[in-house]
């Protein structure tokens, strides 16, 4: 890849008059030696898997093997039909879709890691609900996934994307940043605005620990996907409105690295601290 920072990415896009998604498709093709058409087709297949996961989570039984979680997405949808949601239609829907995919994951269904399985609900939630709302083509969405991938590539190589290394900020935080930046681009924002959205979003999850109850990708992972998707909409709106990340996004990524590196091991996916070690968390672990 010809970029290592988000700033380099934005400058490259502007000088070549390309979107982040278009540029990433070219870069990917050069890296893999496969044609852009082949790479595009692979990503298009991945998007189909995301759509299927949303549909499955909204319509089928998603009770996990542990019995701890399942059907929360459907609860949100049903509640939205019966009463006025606090979030309003669009944000309520994105939350339900993200929960749906995350619940499919917990029940051993098929998903795409974006960037991990623990954070697999945020991007499909934002993408699939926004596509329905704005009537975008699948092609437009697939370019959006390349844009999300470019942002994630920078975060992963400058900081981390796994909870075991950097806490939940690295998983859910990265997913929100990727979704927010991509959504700015999907809405017609500039690469610079997309990059601001990433910084705005990441700042909101700095310090978030990874403390899965009984070590499972269920509590609190699933609801954090729901919250994360809503946050991505908010960050994209701020950036499209012209709000800037005063601390540049690349510097925020470095902060994520600094915070994650100093996070105690018990708060990095070991189930030795946080929610996992509450009286109830310990009881659940013993009973499973």
């Amino acid at each position: 890849m010809n970029f290592t920072t988000l700033n380099e990415l934005a400058v490259l896009c502007e000088t070549q008059n390309m979107t982040i998604g278009q540029l990433m498709l070219e870069e990917q093709s050069r890296e893999s030696g496969r044609t852009p058409e082949a790479e595009f087709a692979t990503m298009a297949q991945y998007y189909e898997v995301m759509k299927e996961a949303v549909h499955k989570g909204l319509n089928e039984d998603t009770t996990s093997p542990s019995g701890l979680t399942g059907l929360d997405a459907q609860r949100v949808v049903n509640y939205g039909k019966q009463s006025e949601m606090n979030l309003g239609g669009a944000a309520g829907e994105v939350m339900a879709y993200a929960l749906a995919v995350s619940e499919v994951n917990a029940s051993m269904g098929r998903i795409v890691a974006t960037p991990t399985a623990g954070s697999c609900g945020v991007i499909p939630g934002v993408f699939v609900s926004s596509q329905q709302r704005f009537g975008w083509t699948d092609e437009h969405m697939v370019y959006g996934l390349f844009a999300a991938g470019a942002i994630g590539y920078v975060i992963a190589n400058n900081s981390f994307i796994s909870g075991a290394e950097g806490g939940c900020q690295a998983e859910i935080g990265s997913a929100i940043g990727m979704a927010a930046g991509a959504l700015v681009e999907l809405r017609g924002g500039t690469p610079a605005q997309a990059v601001h959205a990433v910084g705005l979003a990441l700042k909101n999850t700095l310090g978030l620990i990874c403390d899965p109850v009984a070590g499972l990708v269920e509590v609190p992972c699933i609801v954090r996907n729901g919250f994360g998707a809503v946050t991505a909409l908010a960050a994209a709106d701020m950036a499209l409105a012209g709000v800037r990340s005063v601390i540049p996004s690349d510097e925020v990524i470095q902060v994520m690295m600094e915070v994650g590196s100093s996070m105690p091991e018990k708060h990095r996916e070991t189930a030795k601290g946080g929610l996992a070690q509450t009286p109830t968390g310990r009881k659940i672990m013993q009973e499973l």
């Binding site: 098929r110 991990t116 996934l145 999300a148 190589n157 796994s162 290394e165 990708v217 269920e218």
Partner: protein, 232 residues
């Protein structure tokens, strides 16, 4: 760069719930299956660290056995892989490993025929997002990722082996992405593991098979499509 392309960020397509504990485990199992060359009759799976602590909740056991049945990370049969293994004559046992390991998500596989003959061992670690590293094969310390088609060459430690292998690849117009070499002792057994760009051409296998110092040649290629039930 630890992460090399867009599909290490968006991807893999996988059966949940954990990219490190489920998808990574499936890839480790599948690497061992490829190296064995066919479905083994017996597999001992040793889990260490976080794998040992949480393997049932994450389906790590089912995923790694799915890999041994040559399932890819998104194969819908993974949740039922233990049953399919039994049906197809693969006897699996799980053990909890002791001692210090360098990564929290480590699994060792010991594959053999029913009587314990024809044994192959492999140790893999799952480093996040479904990405893996194989760090040991048959007692040799090596490194490979499963991202590239890989040649696993066991041979006698004698002068000219590396030159022979690299020339064989060069003559077939194939580029080496990464390579690691280890030996048990001087002039004893050695292993060379070569990750390459592009496909493994027949000519490469033909040339390396003729090498005097060769003991065995294995191929690990996780980019290959998994056979579905219908195709079999």
């Amino acid at each position: 760069m630890r992460f090399k392309d867009v599909f290490s960020i968006i991807g893999p397509v996988m059966v949940g719930p954990s990219s490190s504990h489920t998808a990574g485990a499936a890839r480790i199992g599948r690497s061992a299956r490829h190296l064995y060359g066919k479905q083994p009759e017996k597999a001992v799976v040793v889990f260490y660290g976080s794998f040992a602590a949480t393997y049932q909740g994450h389906g790590t056991d089912r995923a790694i056995v799915g890999g041994l049945l040559d399932y890819d990370t998104d194969d819908p049969r993974i949740p039922m892989a233990l049953d399919y293994a039994k049906q197809s004559g693969l006897e699996v046992s799980f053990e909890e490993g002791r001692g210090v390991v360098r990564h929290p998500n480590t699994a060792k596989l010991i594959l053999s025929d029913r009587n314990g003959g024809n044994e192959v061992t492999m140790t893999g670690i799952s480093i996040g997002g479904g990405n893996i590293e194989i760090i040991e094969i048959n007692g040799f310390n090596i490194k490979m990722t499963g991202i590239y088609p890989t040649l696993v060459i066991q041979h006698y430690d004698s002068p000219g082996v590396l030159a022979y292998v690299t020339q064989a690849l060069s003559l077939e117009g194939t580029n080496i992405a990464h390579m690691s070499v280890d030996r048990k002792n001087r002039s004893g057994n050695a292993m060379t593991v070569v990750e390459i760009d592009g496909e493994i051409k027949k000519g490469i296998l033909a040339r390396i098979s003729q090498m005097d110092a060769l003991i065995s040649l294995g191929i690990i290629d996780l980019s290959q499509e998994t056979q579905t039930e219908e195709q079999k």
